[in-house]
């Protein structure tokens, strides 16, 4: 027990150092605005991939409707700040709760499905959310909700990201988290052992959806606009790709996947004609030679490096 505490404190210290270094680099403009934007985007994608990893990687449920919850967070957050004029902190909380609530309501019926059926149900769900938004005039319909103030900055994304990572890590190590892992390994066996499978599946789904909502609030308050075209099923696939690339069921993997894919996309912005080609070839090669993802279900940890932290995947942000 003592050992774990010590590790946690070490990791937290590591985070502080990383944060200080990054913040200084940004303050002294060694990292220009373009890479600052992409680092924020990386942070948002880390929150998304880590939260999807809880559902897909740890609980073994195949959900591909994550962009829907992202949209719910983005829009509720924007309504709070733009329409009601309330502070950004409240927007973060309400956006998270709304997406979580929706995840709970939707999780109840759909999580009784499994495998392909669940995938189709969640895919449909993401689209339903998007089409609903498209037809609600109050939030701007097709032209999107405009005039959102830029409240998100590196500090917000970093600390919210750290919070999400620690929350999910601790959840996985708790009793409900263990039940989720058991469900992933063998649902029938888990049920035989007295685990209420629906309950824990819904729990994981709700937490994952809620954090996707958080990411949505951060997203819309960074890019000035919440637009339905940003939340298509392609966005869901992007997030899924990050998780699968990094390794289903690995926190370090989800983080690395988000960092790599966002970084590659930003780097290839110079070559728009080649972006999708290179992006897809990289994915194909990786899946051919490492089908379990970069990390499989292993984690980077203190024990491996003696220093660094649970989030050492973050160092791949460069600089």
């Amino acid at each position: 027990m003592n050992n774990i505490r010590k590790q946690d404190i070490m990791s937290l210290l590591g985070c502080f150092v990383l944060f200080a270094v990054m913040q200084l680099l940004i303050m002294f403009e060694i990292i220009g605005p373009f890479w600052e934007l992409n680092i924020v985007l990386i942070g948002i994608n880390i929150i998304l991939s880590v939260s999807l990893n809880l559902i897909n990687g740890y609980t073994g449920q195949f959900s591909i409707g994550h962009a829907g919850f992202l949209a719910v967070g983005a829009y509720t957050g924007a309504i709070i700040t733009v329409k009601l004029g309330l502070p950004f902190e409240l927007a973060l909380i309400v956006g998270t709760l709304c997406a979580g609530l929706l995840g709970f309501l939707i999780g109840l019926p759909t999580l009784r499905l499994n495998g392909d059926y669940l995938a189709i149900a969640t895919l449909g769900l993401g689209e339903i959310i998007r089409i609903c938004i498209l037809n609600i005039e109050y939030v701007g319909g097709a032209s999107g909700l405009m005039g959102i103030p830029r409240e998100t900055n590196f500090a917000w994304v970093f600390w919210v990201g750290i919070f999400v990572i620690f929350f999910i890590k601790n959840f996985i190590n708790s009793a409900p988290g263990r039940s989720c892992l058991a469900i992933r390994e063998n649902e029938i066996a888990a049920e035989t052992m007295g685990i209420d499978t629906t309950k824990y599946k819904v729990m994981a789904f709700t937490i994952g959806a809620a954090f996707a909502g958080t990411a949505g609030v951060l997203f819309s308050h960074y890019f000035y606009i919440a637009h339905p075209a940003s939340f298509t099923f392609m966005r869901s696939f992007d997030i899924l790709t990050m998780v699968v690339l990094g390794g289903l069921g690995s926190m370090s993997g989800a983080i690395t996947g988000a960092v790599l894919l966002t970084g590659i996309s930003a780097f290839l912005a110079e070559y728009p004609e080649w972006r999708m080609v290179i992006y897809s070839i990289t994915l194909i090669v990786l899946m051919l030679y490492r089908p379990q993802g970069l990390f499989g279900n292993k984690e980077l940890s203190l024990k491996m490096f003696k220093l660094g932290g649970d989030n050492s995947g973050r160092t791949a942000e460069g600089k």
Binding site: I30, I31, G32, P33, F34, W35, L37, N38, L41, I131, L134, N135, G141, A142, S143, G144, M146, G147, R150, F219, F223, Y224, I225, H227, P228, A229, S230, V259, L260, G263, I264, A266, F267, L268, A269, P272, E273, R275, M276, T282, V285, L286, Y289, R290, L294, A316, G318, K319
Partner: protein
Amino acid sequence: MKKMRKVLSVACIGMLLATALTGCGGDKKGSGDTIKIGGNLEMTGGSASYGKSAQNGIKLAIDAANAKGGVLGKKIEFVVADNKSEAAEATNAMQKLIAQDKVIAVIGPNLSSASIAATSINTSAKVLAITPMGTNPNVTVDKDGKTKDFMFRACFIDPFQGTVMATFAKDKINAKNVAILVDNSSDYAKGLAQFFKEAFTKGGGKIVAEESYLQKDTDFKATLTKIKASNPDMIYVPGYYQEVGMIVKQAREMGLNVPMAGGDGWDSAKLPEIAGKAALNNTYFSSLYSPDDDSQLNKDFVAAYQKAYNEKPDVFAALAYDSALLVINAIKTANAVDTVKIKDAMAKTAGFSGVSGNVTFNAQHNPVKSAVIIEYKDGAQVFKTKINP
């Protein structure tokens, strides 16, 4: 074998890391003897055909300027960033052009929603952007009705197209009863439909049916059956070419042979491919530009464009070409590589001749210019008439 796999996978990870890291290599400083102009364009995604045409148009204008010795004694360099036809990515692309490439003016994005999102970036960086085709009024004016200082457009705004088409329907087609089929997922289409309806009913016409569809829909038979039952003289379909193509095709298959009309979203070489050349007869759209316009400036442009790309320029190419000319003209007038002075010079532009007509910016940074009506005849676009504001 197993070992080789391991080596390969490590190499693969290394490559990935390398690509991600080299990107962080910091800002590239523009060399002193070139001036950089950025293009925030739709190179991939749903509207990639618009971005490609725009890129061609801009390149042509810049190459011509460079052949004459550039501007202020410096060569112009054109840098493109892909906005994936999406609003958040357009913001990202705008940031890249201004922060990384240090451009002094940006052309694009073409889409209104992307322009509205991205303009926050260039406004705070005090670099002007001009959208060739972003026709939504909110592109240059914020929600309090204040003009955005650093945002311009080369096209007229949406409502004008609806009004133009209403005049055309009434005077040239002699339509009395019109059905409207609108793309409900697009603000552009809804704006056109609304202004068409207002102008047309004011002129004594009647709207007999109003139906809607969403982008990416593929089957319109049910909706078209309803429209057919209302017996219209004409169908107004403001929308984008992808769906419009299928709508026209399916309408003709059902024997719905009345004239059909729309806005400049119809302007694409893909439309005759999707709808079929015969089905597309008897359709009209309002546009900013026709390659058959007989001004000398336009004839020269069309000839140069055909020589360079082996196809006729479409409206996106023409408006992007005009945008580039406007930017170059503003740099010349400002006589300094100073983004604020260039913006001031741009705002004062008056009586500038472009290939799509003469441009004078009003207080909202909208150009005052004429519109053309184009007819599709056997898959080819034929210049029908010009309607003045």
